[in-house]
């Protein structure tokens, strides 16, 4: 059993994710109230998109300032399909959104394979700025600036008529997030993931090792965009209306912020970053209103704290919160081992890119 566990990535990752699924099922069903489920859904949506972005930016080294726009493609795919064919099952919406966004990612990736650093950032920035203008020009399809309303996915009948829709959406989103993270965790430690890193760190050496650099970069973009598309589709259900105002440049920048705070290139960092992204405004908003400040000040306290946290996190954890936590854990285990004096030598440090 232990050798199977050690040798088979499928068994190892599969068991970890099944365990997580059970924990999340219990939490969303018996522990969380509706409001928490609603927030957890938001965290999971951001986490799916941020995880895709961290594969692209953290692992493959391509900066994207346009992931909000890719989420928009996913959200509009779902919304347009749902408007035309209200009866289609949710899973089909998710798959269709992944497909369209993946194709969009391939197109952006083909351009991206010819661009480096600031030029790629500029091109994706242009996407993030331009795409939200499209719906107003094709209002008959995309509903213009008012957007399209998205009918909630109704829980299946066997769950009972009183089953909360928030809980149902939380289940779906968390399931989608678990599948995404399972697949990405496999990818990151696979030969394909290794090639992503090879291209990031040394394109010439990668080419000499037989890696088609351009193809690898496009592939990273497709995988990353597919995640954004899935997140966008779920985002449409979560907001229940899809309009251009939901996909401003701010969204793209927030995703980038999330992966940097969380730890660039780390999948757990993408989760931590998304958590901070959703919960920091909630907490700071609560704090500001409890301090009895004037409205002008109170309105700006969350922003100020957000900025301080951002700067602080980067100063204290240059490798992100995930990297910081990992090094604290390593430090503690080292202290514990040396105090016992019997343990083996500390293991080789984790690869910085993990």
């Amino acid at each position: 059993m232990s050798t199977v566990f050690r040798r088979s990535t499928l068994v190892r990752h599969g068991l970890v994710f099944l365990g997580l699924a059970v924990v999340l099922l219990v939490l969303t069903s018996f522990v969380f109230d509706s409001f928490t489920n609603y927030n957890v859904t938001e965290v999971a949506i951001y986490a799916i998109s941020a995880a895709g972005l961290t594969v692209l930016t953290g692992i493959n080294g391509q900066v994207s300032l346009g992931h909000g726009a890719l989420m928009m493609i996913g959200a509009y795919t779902t919304s347009v399909l749902l408007t035309r064919h209200p009866g289609l099952p949710l899973i089909l919406m998710l798959v269709a959104s992944i497909a369209t966004t993946g194709i969009a990612g391939a197109i952006v990736g083909l351009a991206g394979a010819r661009l480096r650093g600031p030029y790629l950032a500029g091109a994706t920035l242009a996407l993030a700025v331009a795409l939200p203008q499209v719906p107003s020009h094709f209002a008959s399809v995309f509903g213009g600036n008012q957007g399209l309303s998205v009918a909630a996915s109704t829980p299946p009948a066997f769950l009972g008529s009183s089953f909360a829709p928030e809980q149902w959406l939380a289940w779906i989103t968390l399931a989608a997030a678990l599948v995404t993270f399972f697949v990405l965790a496999n990818l990151v430690r696979s030969a394909t993931g290794q090639r992503f890193r090879m291209v990031r760190d040394n394109e010439v050496a990668a080419r000499l090792s037989g890696v088609d650099v351009a193809r690898t970069q496009v592939l990273a973009f497709v995988v990353s965009a597919a995640c954004a598309g899935l997140a966008g589709s779920l985002f449409a259900y979560w907001v229940s209306v899809t309009s251009p105002s939901g996909f401003t440049l701010n969204l793209s920048l927030s995703l980038l912020t999330a992966i940097v705070i969380g730890g660039l290139g780390s999948l757990s960092g993408a989760v931590l970053g998304s958590f901070i992204l959703v919960y920091l405004p909630v907490w700071t908003g609560g704090l500001a209103s409890s301090l009895n400040l004037s409205t002008n000040v109170a309105n700006n306290v969350p922003l100020a704290i957000y900025g301080i946290v951002l700067i602080g996190a980067i100063l204290v954890f240059p490798r992100g919160v995930a990297g910081g936590v990992a090094s604290i854990v390593r430090g503690v285990t080292r202290v514990l081992r040396s105090s016992r004096g019997t343990g083996p030598l500390p293991a080789a440090p984790e690869a910085p890119s993990q």
């Binding site: 499928l10 990752h13 696979s190 993931g193 990668a206 037989g210 592939l219 080789a348």
Partner: protein, 262 residues
């Protein structure tokens, strides 16, 4: 080359009369080079002679404006650079080019040219694990051959230069090359390391053709079966080490009296 008999080992690489220009500057002018199986060919010349440009032309980083480059009878011109490892041409870089974020073992495994198996990798299919395990075994065998298997778990940045040099050769061997191109393999090595490198190249010669670009003339003289001397982008001599040693043009070039030659 003059010293080769007609029934010698088959030609692996044939560079014939290539011209390379960089924005009008002539980097290589009618350069030819023949590398046969089980042969070590050294390319020497003063700084700026075009040695690395010649390698860059063979490994498809620059495209010559004239001349042909054939590998096992097939033209290399038109082939993308990344394909070379797949057809059995491996090259090391002067600047090492190890991946600092990967362990030594991972760096060597990375040298194996393989197809992307996206679906299997996304689903962590057992075939993906098996493939990775096979490559790790081969990489360990290469590290063992190079005498640095004990460094497999280290990160390259922490290793002495001599060990890193061995790791990049181990990585190049993952392509199971028929032609191994070594860019300055002896640079920065101690005398004893250079001697071990010479022994290593002689043992590798049984399995492949080797071409090396090198500043360390004594090392090239010791190890090469044939030597080509470049100066200012042109071949000024080629032949066996003893022929090159006796060549006055070569001596002049190395003394810097190149104007007289031109």
């Amino acid at each position: 080359m003059s010293s080769q008999t007609p029934d010698a080992d088959p030609v692996v690489l044939e560079v014939a009369g290539i011209d390379v220009r960089f924005e009008g500057v002539v980097a290589l002018d009618g350069v030819s080079l023949t590398v046969r199986a089980n042969q070590i060919v050294g390319v020497i010349g003063p700084n700026g002679a075009g040695k690395t440009t010649l390698f860059n032309a063979v490994s498809r980083f620059v495209t010559p404006v004239a001349g042909t480059i054939t590998y096992k009878g097939r033209s290399l011109i038109g082939l993308p650079a990344w394909r070379l490892a797949h057809v059995g041409i491996a090259r090391t870089l002067q600047g090492l080019g190890l991946w600092p974020a990967l362990t030594v073992l991972e760096n060597v495994v990375a040298g194996a040219p393989s197809r992307t198996r996206l679906a299997a990798d996304l689903l962590a299919w057992p075939s993906s694990d098996r493939h990775a395990a096979t490559l790790r075994e081969e990489a360990m065998a290469n590290l063992t051959e190079l005498g640095v298997a004990n460094r497999a778990a280290s990160y390259p940045g922490a290793l002495p230069h001599g060990v890193q040099k061995r790791v990049i050769i181990a990585r190049a061997l993952m392509a199971r090359p028929s032609l191994l191109l070594l860019d300055e393999p002896a640079s920065g090595l101690s005398t004893s390391d250079v001697n071990e490198l010479v022994d290593l190249l002689r043992s590798l010669r049984a399995r492949m053709a080797i071409a090396l670009v090198e500043h360390h003339v004594d090392m090239v003289m010791a190890v090469s079966d044939s030597i080509t001397v470049l100066n200012l982008g042109e071949v000024i001599a080629s032949g066996t080490p003893s022929e090159i040693r006796a060549n006055t043009d070569v001596a002049n070039a190395y003394l810097g009296q190149t104007v007289a030659h031109a």
